[in-house]
Amino acid sequence: MVGNDIVDIAQAQKDSNWQRPRFLDKLFTEKEQEFIKNSGDKTITVWQLWSMKEAAYKLYVQKHPSRFYAPKQFECVAHASIWKVNYKEFSCYLSIKKTTDYIVSEARLIPHKMTSELVVFKDENLKSQRQVLRDKLSERISKSDNIWTNTIEFQKSEFGIPTVKFDSKIMNLSLTHHGRFGAFAF
């Protein structure tokens, strides 16, 4: 089981003003706000913590099918350079990749190396991006499991949780897209 999330930094800068009053307080705990304040590049830190929370939420709802908006309650905590996100009794490990263009976070129940594969979109249209992401993922699964791409079926639960079905097998996965970038992991 995996949850992942990507932030296109330029897109985030365009779409959100994290400096607007009360913005940080709505999304981040006091400790997280302190961490942001003391970080070198506050903008990058805001979006890193945000993507970690999103990835952790996507993993949480696979374990506990539900849908809600509680970013502040998913708290990012660093233990000697290992990042975890805690929500109530739930806890998961995060791996993070940062470039000047994007940040991708991946959440799993155990410590892990990043497996999310990046997709760069040529088209800005959301629907076509979604299709490109699914096609890339299908290709990837068909290679690793040695099956035909046309036997792979994408599903979404009532809570919006995605799975793929093939060979009477149901597999959990995570898809993310933002701005020019997408990523998938399974």
């Binding site: 779409d15 959100s16 913005f23 999304l27 999103e54 809600f68 919006g160």
Partner: protein, 83 residues
């Protein structure tokens, strides 16, 4: 404020963040911010802050948790205005 007036006000607040025009034109109480309007989850907080400013109210964590569709937003605003 009638339900229609409230929906109109919410429509104005939501408009800058939507990514699906057709769903926005057909907006009703059942419209989902993320599934239908394809609003980015980072922008949900902007909608929450805009609602707070517009109606001069403050939303708590419990209110935020349910802010996923027009119906819930209406219920939360109404409850706060009545309080």
């Amino acid at each position: 404020m009638t339900n229609n007036e409230l929906i109109e006000k919410l429509k104005g607040i939501i408009a800058p963040y939507i990514q699906d025009e057709a769903a926005f034109e057909n907006l009703n109480e059942d419209t989902d911010f993320v599934k239908d309007l394809k609003i980015n989850s980072a922008n949900l907080v902007d909608i929450i802050l805009d609602i707070e400013d517009e109606f001069d109210i403050r939303l708590e964590n419990e209110d935020m948790e349910k802010m996923l569709d027009v119906k819930s937003a209406m219920a939360i605003v109404n409850a706060k205005l009545d309080a």
